[in-house]
Amino acid sequence: MSETDEVIDRELTMSRAMVESIAHEMREDEEVFYMGEDVADYGGIFDSTQGLLDEFGRDRIMDVPISETAYLGAAVGAAQEGMRPIAELMFADFFGVAMDQIYNQLAKNTYMSGGNVNVPLVLTAAVGGTYNDAAQHSQTLYGTFAHIPGLKLVVPSTAYDAKGLMHNAIRDDDPVMYLFHKRLMGIGWMPAPSGPKTPVPETDYTIPFGSADIKREGADVTVVTLGLHVHRALAAAESLAAEGIDVEVVDLRTLVPLDTDTILESVRKTGRLVVVDEDYRSFGVTGEVIARVADRDLGALDAVERVAVPDVPIPYARPMENEVIPDADDIEARVRAVASE
């Protein structure tokens, strides 16, 4: 049964959906504030705070020095006082200058305090390549962050999901890392594919973490993916449908917690698993998803393939970047391979 009677047809870009939920939470709760570089007047390099300065002022939409350790750590301190900061790391690629605050403090303080302290903080960051920004500005690093105990990890692929997951992230009393893919945001200077722009309810709603979403049902092959690659997998599925291969596309939506049940259910149906990831291949998402399935039900697996960045830094020039970041063709090829096994 639907929450409302009407069909929702108001479409938003993913960035507008994110901003809408942030604005809503800020109106509801004075303790929510946003800090980051260029989030005030600029509105976020990737439009993540577009328009918020006007409504909320500099105190709640705070520009900060280029001192990621200091300001992320300050967010941790404020969160431990009971505030609900949202702190933006402009590019996920910059995590290395502040990783200690991320993984040794914010992710561990709840555990180390035996649950006496909690850190209700949302850490947002832009991820992804496909626009030739080279090795230090194009990574997704999903595996790196998902490997850290104590941090929930959200990766939306559509405006609808982005809004519901952001509401949930802000209301969560645990630290949540929220990675938005630049290519999906609908930024003026970086055209998005059409998929991420979806109808979005005006009301607030929360999408629970650990609930993967089947973005396309199919009987033959399971493609498990996230972020930008949901849309590339859907495009591949359309082409493959013409060849008679019926692909199911599972959008993980959160990596921590990981919805193994939904993946497993799909694989039990199809027997064939292709995991598609924009992060580096080894020691990351593709390995984990395959191992979860193998560990839980090895017999369900008839064939398996990994599609990811082949353990090289992201190269700058177009032919090479295109080569290493999986596209719909790469997905199709691997799906065909498992389908014929």
């Binding site: 301190g77 059409s194 929360t206």
Partner: protein
């Protein structure tokens, strides 16, 4: 002029902190016989004791309220005691018991007591940004709470501290950074690793007052800290305060200190801030009986806390699985809403 009552309070906390470290040392080493094994005994793991550094902790923390946040580094006990952290539950944590501040999960470098706004971190200088953040929260909420970050003199070369100076200064945050200069960072004397002579000199590059208390003197610290914390409380910005202290023990228990000259060690032992304050109290006319009473009370508080701690239950192995996240989960839904969304083209 600091009142005699206040001096007695400082003295009591210094004695408590000193005796606490001595008792922990005993307990720790007891389990390390005959051959030192770091993982054996009632207190396993690393243990960093602060004997000789009490003046800094009490001189500063006696200006603070329960809602003023303090962050401490890997050597936290004296600060925790001065801040009023629950001594029993802190001891239970150090002994790894279920009723410890962190249910035995944190250990001595990770003591969290939200009741008195106390936290630590074992990573050098990484307590500075959260202290600045607590100060930021106070300003956002228009409260007059302040925050204090403690760190060692070896930590003043670390990015987290240096960035925090700017962050606090540019946002005029009510925070005080307190550098405990015990001359050593493990085996490295400060001259070998740090360009400035005094840690407080760093302030000059960050448009912030830098004060140094050159002697291991609780009263001098109390006065200097009063100024710094007053400035914070009055919303006149942050301060960097350095205090000369002395490391009476090894860096951690088991440290052979072969890198340290006997002369240096003896000098550290000779300059005892507790003796100094005791002399001062005598000058004020506090007599032996009163001093003994303070000492007895301090010692029995410590003995009781440690005895209590040692009687506490050990955690169950399965407790390890709890508390990674807030438990039970709060503020989040577990049900997905249902909306009827118009069809859209989901192709790329």
């Amino acid at each position: 002029m600091v009142s005699q009552d206040k001096l007695c309070e400082l003295y009591a906390d210094m004695l408590t902190a000193r005796y606490y470290e001595e008792r922990l040392q005993e307990e720790y080493l007891e389990g390390k016989q005959p051959a030192f094994d770091i993982s054996a005994g009632p207190i396993p793991g690393e243990l960093h004791l602060a004997a000789g550094q009490e003046a800094a902790a009490v001189g500063v923390c006696h200006h603070l309220r329960a809602d003023d946040t303090v962050t401490a580094p890997h050597r936290p006990h004296h600060v925790a005691i001065a801040k009023g952290v629950d001594l029993k539950r802190m001891s239970a944590e150090i002994f790894g018991r279920k009723t410890g501040l962190g249910k035995g999960k944190g250990g001595h470098m990770h003591l969290f007591d939200p009741d008195v706004s106390f936290a630590c971190s074992g990573i050098i200088a990484e307590g500075c940004p959260p202290a600045a953040g607590a100060a930021l929260a106070a300003t956002k909420r228009n409260e007059d709470a302040v925050a204090v970050a403690f760190l060692g003199e070896g930590a003043i070369d670390q990015g987290a501290f240096l960035e925090s100076l700017n962050f606090a200064s540019v946002h005029d945050l009510p925070v005080v950074f307190v550098v405990e200069d015990n001359d050593w960072a493990i085996s490295m004397p400060k001259e070998r690793v740090t360009d400035v002579e005094d840690g407080s000199d760093r302030a000059a590059g960050f448009d912030m007052p830098g004060i140094r208390v050159d002697q291991d003197d609780a009263i001098a610290v109390y006065e200097a800290a009063g100024e710094a914390i007053g400035r914070a409380r009055d919303r006149n910005g942050p301060t960097l305060l350095e205090v000369q202290v002395h490391r009476r023990m090894g860096h951690f228990m088991g440290d052979p200190q072969t890198y340290r000259s006997d002369a240096d060690e003896e000098a550290a032992l000779a300059r005892d801030s507790i003796d100094r304050l005791e002399a001062e109290l005598r000058d004020h006319g506090v007599d032996d009986d009163e001093l003994d009473a303070i000492r007895d009370e301090a010692e029995s508080r410590v003995d009781e806390a440690i005895a209590w701690a040692k009687e506490q239950p050990h955690p169950d192995p399965d407790d390890a699985y709890d508390d990674v996240f807030v438990n039970p989960p709060s503020g989040v839904t577990t049900e997905e809403p249902e909306f009827e969304l118009a069809e859209v083209n989901a192709d790329e």
